[in-house]
Amino acid sequence: MSSPLDPKALLANLYHDNHAWLRGWLSRQVRCPQDAADLAQDTFLRAFDAQQLERIEQPRAYLSTVARRLLCSLWRRRKLEQAYLDQLADMPQGYAPSAEDIALVREAIEAIDHALEGLPSRVRRAFLLNRLESMPQQAIATLLGVSLATVERDLRRAYLHCLSQTQESL
């Protein structure tokens, strides 16, 4: 017998009461039933991981908040992927990477995008030019039309931004 506060039982209840509703809500957002089903599943998993199920007073408000966050990140990944594929389409055929390499690039840019999330565009650009393409600070300053000190400040900000996330997740 599980106690009323057993997370598994709580999740089962939450699932039973809201799964159909959540899938319906998500289907209206994404149009693709498969995506809606996946997102609904992810939403319940997140809710379970949060382990505060007993404190949820308004399950549907809570679930739709979690689902909305997942939806945003899905859209963001799709846009990123599309932007990359657009770039690929613009390249000469001889330069087409293999399917494995395309997958590798997609994963890599997703990880980088995630780490740089929230940084202003100039900071992102300076960081990418420096780390991705090994461009020296002075060349970045000249290219972006800013001072060397500004580039250094931007790079420091990007490093600290990434490092604060890894410290958070520890």
Binding site: L80, P92, Y95, L132, G145, C162, L163, Q165
Partner: protein, 325 residues
């Protein structure tokens, strides 16, 4: 801000990272850094954290780049096009780059011209190519140029999307040979001629026989051998034949007779992967001589020895030309 959550030792390691790769650290500073690293395991751990920022995805991208060049640019542009860069900030950045004369896609554009990729035939930066057409005509594309080729029963038509071409037309009285630009079209009357698509005007020059020019707004003119004209939809301006209108580039060189340095820089640009910027003062310096298109650094360093100009390279990405102060 979230950055305040980073501990002081890690912050110090970030400072070292930036200092060491600024290109300004002197040997004695490197000694101080080594001593700092050896001082405590905590320092070493912080250094590894900083050096490890995004290490795996960055290394993956660089490995892919070695196998298929261009992927780093593609990844960077995708990352900068992504929605997480605040829209307003992105606009400001874009404006800044526009003022510099470097579009957001500018860097990619310099290696693999984007517009060209969609065209039937295109050349990359620094590449010249001669194409034998179905009718026996020979079409030569200058670097960073793109054309669409549309041959039909009644007409041989080449749409010049960007750059510059020269064509040796094979005679075919039944099917006129037409080169179209954004401003008008040039119809060959059996001949050799050159057409160039500029930012907002076109240029046509004739090496043999003559061509007929029709602008979009209906102006007409016959251009004879040795003549050159620039044209927009509503205007035709005869040009004195200069580096711009000659077909020297076919042999990989450009010849200037008392012309501004800017004319040479313009001819070199399609051959240069990085950004080539020239100050207004340097642009006015007069130039004589024959210069190679295929070795820009060499050409520029030769010029710097004979002209009162100063050429500064910032890696392969950026070259600045200014007058010697």
């Amino acid at each position: 801000m979230s950055n305040t959550r980073v501990d002081p030792v890690t912050r110090a390691a970030v400072d070292w990272m930036l200092r060491l790769e600024s290109g300004q650290a002197c040997p004695s500073e490197r000694q101080v850094f080594k001593a700092w690293l050896a001082e405590s395991p905590e320092h070493m751990a912080a250094w590894q954290r900083v050096a490890g920022v995004l290490k795996t995805p960055l290394a993956d991208l660089q490995a892919v780049e070695r196998r298929s060049p261009g992927q780093l640019h593609a990844a960077r542009e995708a990352l900068l096009a992504s929605p997480s860069a605040a829209r307003k900030k992105a606009l400001q950045g874009g404006l800044l780059l526009l003022l510099l004369g470097v579009g957001a896609a500018g860097m990619v554009d310099r290696v693999t011209p984007l517009r060209g990729m969609m065209a039937d035939q295109h050349t990359a930066t620094g590449e010249r190519r001669t194409i034998e057409l179905a009718d026996g005509s020979r079409l030569t594309l200058n670097a960073r140029s793109a054309v669409d080729i549309q041959f039909s029963a009644g007409q041989r038509r080449v749409q010049l999307r960007e750059g510059q071409l020269q064509v040796d037309v094979a005679a075919d009285p039944q099917r006129p040979f037409v080169v179209a630009t954004a401003q008008g079209q040039v119809k060959a009357l059996g001949t050799r001629f050159m057409v160039r698509q500029g930012a907002d005007e076109s240029l046509a020059s004739v090496q043999q026989h003559s061509v007929q020019l029709d602008t979009l707004n209906g102006l007409q003119r016959t251009i004879d051998a040795g003549q050159a004209v620039s044209f927009t939809a509503s205007q035709i301006d005869p040009q004195t034949p200069t580096a711009r209108s000659q077909a020297d580039w076919l042999e990989g060189r450009v010849e200037l007779h008392d012309e501004p340095l800017s004319a040479l820089v313009e001819a070199l640009r399609p051959y240069q992967t990085g950004v080539l910027r020239i100050s207004p003062e340097a642009a006015r310096v007069r130039v004589f001589g024959v210069f190679s298109l295929d070795n820009t650094p060499q050409t520029l360093s030769t010029l710097a020895q004979t002209l009162p100009i100063k050429v500064t390279h910032y890696g392969p990405w950026l070259t600045l030309i200014d007058v010697r102060g």
